[in-house]
């Protein structure tokens, strides 16, 4: 039964990883941009939530409702003001600019908040568990987070395939200049995509903050988890990303069970193994 619990925990944290991945995957799909600062933006969201709960005295859920539009606005401004300039045929500028951004965010947070570990308190809900079956227990918070992750991914699918905005995303991704001929301002379309990505990041960031300790330096690891989930699941598929997150979460959980020092390593090794054996991932829709 111990192993069932372990795997279940792995599945649930996979939802969080899938959320890390969803924002990354969205941006890559629409504008072929990989945001190296993605993980640091998740951490930024966590700190914004922290500040809101501390200064306004609100609970994390209310903070989430505020952080999400704030981060979305940040995303729109970031894309429109800075990242739109990096888009083009050369892959160096967006990579290096977002890398620079990553360093700036990390060090900015370090200056403002120091390297102390923080956590967002959510109260009793954090320790609540309930029994699913004989000897099998599930934490309420992880379950909620997983459910939210599924809802977020479903919502993204709906946006992409059933709304005018989603059509604009897909058209612009297909052919930028013809999209302009359709009356789409591509600068605005890209900025909306980034805003949406940061909205997802905001939710992921608040969940991260409630779930575990965080400090300015943990961004890169979140980027890597999101990236691994995307690759394992297969590029271009949102539900694949969920599967990828789950596989990664379960690998880490099993690794941790064998030896605590093996948690992260197990995840990386599974990722590399899948890269070796099935580089297109499990549910690919597009090729790199």
């Amino acid at each position: 039964m111990q192993w069932v619990n372990v795997i279940l925990q792995g599945v649930l944290i996979g939802g969080l990883y899938a959320m890390f991945a969803a924002g990354l995957s969205l941006i890559f799909g629409v504008m072929r941009l990989v945001n190296i600062a993605h993980g640091d933006l998740i951490v930024l969201a966590a700190y914004v939530a922290l500040m809101l709960t501390q200064t306004l005295g609100i609970d994390p859920l209310s903070a989430l409702l505020l952080v999400t539009p704030i981060m979305a606005a940040v995303g729109y401004a970031l894309q429109r003001g800075l990242l739109n300039r990096t888009l083009g045929d050369d892959l160096l500028p967006p990579l290096l600019v977002t890398f620079g951004l990553s360093i700036i965010i990390q060090n900015g947070l370090l200056e403002l908040f120091t390297a102390d570990s923080r956590k967002l308190q959510a109260g009793a809900i954090e320790i609540q568990t309930f029994q699913v079956a004989e000897g099998v227990w599930v934490g309420l918070l992880p379950l909620i987070q997983f459910a939210v992750a599924v809802v977020v991914i479903a919502a993204l699918q709906v946006v992409f395939y059933r709304t005018a905005l989603g059509r604009a995303f897909r058209a612009t991704s297909d052919d930028q200049s013809v999209a302009q001929l359709m009356g789409l301002d591509t600068r605005h379309v890209f900025a909306m995509a980034m805003a949406l990505s940061l909205a997802v990041i905001a939710i992921a960031g608040v969940f991260l903050a409630v779930r575990a300790n965080f400090d300015p330096a943990i961004g890169p690891a979140r980027l890597i988890f999101g990236f691994e989930a995307v690759i394992i699941g297969g590029l271009g598929s949102m539900w694949g990303t969920l599967a990828g997150g789950v596989i990664l979460g379960v690998s880490q959980a099993i690794g941790a069970q064998i030896d605590p020092g093996w948690q992260l390593l197990a995840g990386h090794i599974v990722f590399l193994a899948i890269l070796a054996v099935r580089p297109e991932g499990f549910f690919p829709k597009v090729s790199g």
Partner: protein
Amino acid sequence: MNRVVHATKSSRVGVALIAVALVVLASAPYWGDRQMLRLLAEVFTFVTLASLWNLLAGYAGLVSVGQQAFVGLGGYLLFALAILFEVHPIAAILIAGPIAAVVAIPVAVLIFRLRGAYFAIGTWVVAEVFRLLASQVSVLGGGSGISLPAAVVIAMAPTRQLREFETYWLALTLTVLVLAAIVALLRSRHGLALTALRDNEVAAQSCGIDVARIKFFVYVLTAFGTATVGALIFLQKLRISPDTAFSVNDWTAFVIFITVIGGIGRVEGPIIGTIVFFLLRQVLADLGSLYMLTMGAVAIVVMLWAPKGLWGLIAERFGWQALPLQRRLITALKLKDPGRKS
């Protein structure tokens, strides 16, 4: 016979200046103090790391944010060889390179399945794996690291001063060798292919250049060089730990900033960039994380508004080249105007 001439007027000046500089630097132990030697050795280290990263990213188009994997690997190989196999530290530095190159082969096979920015993150994952594996090796200190035993240190040279002279000259020699190797590579047939690759990958491919093979070769070669530098770095530090060996900030962020600011895709770029970097460090040193923040901002500004870096701006404005890397074809025939007496 037609021949290719590499030198230009400015490159002759450049080479002469470099020769003078080398003589001055080689004699540094006789006129500089301990601090100066350490600073210069650090400069050499970064010039080398940045030049290697430049070769990888600026010429082969492989942007890696995981070269710290090989810096750390080199360091750990040094400690492993010296402590566990009682190899003389300088010999260990020489062996670390080839071993790292062998390690780089399966790594390359794996991560070359990724493209562009995903490749970059893949290199980061590899570095993380190396770091985690290093933490698991308890004979080399596990997570907290290990110091170089006194016996090994003494084996280098009997006095501390001699040791410092030795490591200084090693650093200078290594830098000169790496830069010479890069220049030689770029002057060769493979170098022409690399420059073509840098300018336009698709066009290079359609000229029959085996792009995949060149990239693979450059990746393994860069790993060789980076690990050798890594071994030397940690010989100087006398202590190693997973976090310092595989630090993204120290071995990747600074290196990338140096190369971007100095000028990607040109050999002179990393040299200029390192000088600027160290000048900035002197000015901003006491500001802690504000210093990194400034570096990041400067790199972004340079990338957007001066993508060819400082040297790129200078070279385009004045047409200079510090090193003889141009190619001009001198034809043996001098065409004569048939209607004129020559």
